[in-house]
């Protein structure tokens, strides 16, 4: 079903109501819950991933990009999921996946780096905040539930901030000698930069020592690695996974197909490997902004505005829907005559998703995660 503007206005009321979960005014103690944010760096094309095939203008705007789209799963009478996301389509059928469309952050320009900065910092302006909304979110969890981990070789902005988090990316280097590690610990004691970073490295080292590194080669392996890090009782509770390559200025069909196949495998494997923990897990997939409504001359799309986001998880029992206040794709409907018009807020969507998953108060999340957000 498609939800209209009346049912889903801004972030304020929509999602928790749609999911049938009443928000609770304070954080529940000792939640076993997990949250995973998969960032799509480079501006993923929401109009190709959750394709509005029911919009009468869509086919003429997209021309050569429509190839194979008829093989994608029909999400409802209006939207078709990209054919590379077959396993995700099955999750949608089981009510474990949902999409939101025509949403955007507060950012309205078209620079990747500024757009990602807004998406990650949760600030109202690029570079206004030095910490990220996920790090601020950790503060709202009970002290023993604040293990944050980025599946990346360095810590992305969304996870930077006061609460220490760690990062991990598989390596083929053999482990260092344990005695050397202890001596390095001594050498870094008191170094304001290196000591806290090294302490985190030691913690992660213990968690992952039994995972073969070649597992991270492709999407499924990233999913497996993420599951292994999320599953243990003392493992990560909040995770960020980096994905890139979404900046499809040319040859969009092949590139998008490759990246979505990997994302689909990542999601599927994560769910399978998490087993019973999946029911306490929420996965958010989002990008910094969307792409132009019209195909460009190099069979790609250029930087745009609104895009789509995904939620997946075992507790999304009333999912299986596309939330949107669809703005339309006629020339007059487009933002600045070229982009999908944003009709709802990505920040609001994130707040609602976390509020429903953790049963946390909406206003408190808003004030902590997106304090500049109006």
């Amino acid at each position: 079903m498609t939800i209209s503007r009346r049912q889903f206005t801004t972030g304020a009321v929509g999602l928790s109501a749609a999911l049938g979960l009443p928000p609770i005014a304070h954080a529940a103690a000792n939640t076993p819950k997990r949250f995973v944010f998969v960032i799509q760096r480079g501006a993923a094309d929401g109009l190709a991933i959750v394709a509005p095939t029911g919009d009468p203008s869509y086919a003429s705007l997209r021309g050569p990009l429509l190839k194979d789209l008829d093989k994608g799963a029909k999400l409802n009478s209006f939207f078709t999921l990209h054919p590379a996301m077959r396993k995700t389509a099955a999750l949608y059928g089981q009510g474990e996946a949902m999409f939101s469309h025509a949403l955007a952050s507060t950012y309205r320009e078209r620079s990747h780096f500024d757009g990602q900065n807004i998406l990650e910092s949760g600030g109202g302006k690029p570079y206004a905040r030095k910490d990220g909304w996920i790090n601020r979110f950790l503060k709202l969890l009970p002290a023993n539930e604040r293990q944050g981990l980025a599946l990346a070789s360095s810590i992305p902005l969304a996870m930077r901030g006061k609460t220490p988090v760690t990062s991990f990316a598989p390596t083929r280097l053999p482990d260092a000698n344990q005695d050397l590690i202890e001596r390095v610990t001594g050498l870094y004691a008191g170094d304001p930069l290196l000591d806290p970073v090294w302490q985190n490295a030691l913690k992660t080292q213990m968690l992952v020592s039994d995972i073969p590194s070649r597992n991270a080669a492709r999407g499924a392996n990233v999913g497996l690695l993420a599951a292994n890090l999320l599953k243990p009782a003392d493992g990560a509770r909040v995770m960020m996974i980096e994905t890139g390559g979404w900046d499809t200025h040319s040859q969009q069909i092949n590139r998008l197909n490759n990246h979505l196949t990997a994302l689909d495998a990542l999601i599927f494997t994560l769910r399978r490997e998490l087993g019973p923990v999946w029911k306490d897990t929420l996965v958010l997939v989002a990008t910094e902004f969307g792409r132009t409504a019209r195909v460009n001359g190099t069979r790609g799309t250029d930087h745009g505005t609104a895009s789509a986001a995904m939620l997946l998880g075992g507790s999304l029992n009333k999912a299986g829907r596309v939330l949107t206040d669809w703005p339309g794709l006629r020339a007059a409907d487009l933002y600045q005559g070229r982009d999908l018009q944003p009709t709802s807020s990505l920040e609001g969507f994130i707040i609602d998703a976390l509020s429903a998953h953790y049963r946390m108060d909406n206003g408190k999340l808003r004030r902590t995660l997106f304090p500049d957000f109006v």
Binding site: H112, S154, D175, V184, L193, L194, G297, T298
Partner: protein, 475 residues
Amino acid sequence: MASQRSNYLAQNRFGLGIRPGERSIDNPQRWLEGQLRGFDPNPRAISRLPGRRAIAEELIEFRMKSRALRQSKAMDDGQSQNQKTVKQARRSIRQNYIDAAGARFDLALNSRTPFAERLTHFWSNHFAISADKSRVFAFAGDYEFRAIRPNIMGKFGDLLSAAVLHPAMLFYLDQHTSLGPNSPTGTRARRRNPNRKAGLNENLAREILELHTLGVRSVYTQADVLAFAKALTGWTVVDRSGGPGRRRGEYANAEGETRFLMALHEPGSQQILGRSYGSDGAAQSKAVLADLAVHPATAKFIATKLARHFVADTPPASLVTKLEQTFLETGGDLSSLYRTLITAPESWQAQPAKFKTPWDWTVSTYRALGTTNLPENRRAVQLFDQLGQPIWRPGSPAGFADQAQDWASPDALMRRVKLADRLASQISDDQIPLELAQTALSDALAPATRQAIVTADSPGQAVALLLVSPEFMRR
């Protein structure tokens, strides 16, 4: 100037690290200044590599064979033979990349002008390409060696023009297929197929404004991006395997070269940053580039980036102002800019120090160990893949980040410790750890590091501790 640690700072902050047997420097500023004149833009390590034409021919062969393979798959005949030749062609392209990356590493280890080498790396990263597409991959070394390197001592405008019009950049940011909607080719394409939108691509224009010259959120608008994209139409790469540059005839011997094709160029004048640029083909975009190169916003952007790279993540405002003034006074003369940088007292403050990138750390590690070459070039490529800074592959036109917060992560630190452990275990018997440390860290060797080295359980462990010590992690 005469600050403490000036020897360490000259060799590490401005250079690439100290090698055993190198004399201590009497006058750090004169040592750096001398490199601006003594720099060899085309040393043997580079001149012996295959030229652009040879690489272009290999690339064309690869693309044509891949196409033949796809067609034979459709017809289901002679597949395995075709598969083999495509594999071979791909391997020879990859070998070009490996050899070029190896040459870069070789120069970094052995150059007598490490300050100039660092400047080359800085500019190559400022005008970043990323070897993710096969055509960028093939030309990545040629880009740094023949567009960036020969131009780092001259005017910023010449460097800008050489960088953004090199085939690697045109391929990377999709400029080679960008087509003026009202150009002769664009008009013809529309007549043939009215539904197909003529192929204007904004990518290069946007990144020049945002990343190479004025800086993001400065003085330009979306309309400027669009007009500049139109002005840039026409620039493409001669390539008989496909695309707008496939035409033969006059370009028969120019495979892999950048050419301006009037047939692709959007006619008419363009308004950019409030100025009108007339419609005389290649000269139009050249005029825009020349103006961008001396724009005050560019001066500020470049001054900030240079100061951030050499001095501190948050560089002193007074230093940025000095660099900015030099840039404006000299019309972007880069050697003058470097002289301002090395004579400013702000550049010689020991704190706060820069945290080394994986490239910095690895190069200085091999230099400290006295290594002059790796057994095979492939090893250099693998090393930087493992350490998270693959050579010429930052993954984004913004290049690799240049601040501690981007590199000092738990995982990255652990990788350095592992690599240090492995390299240090291979030192020879005549390498005395404390002597290596005294050379490598010079006047910056801290008592705690010295203590860790002399109390280590083996020479190998002592050297590993030197390589991961707080002073060695910084510059």
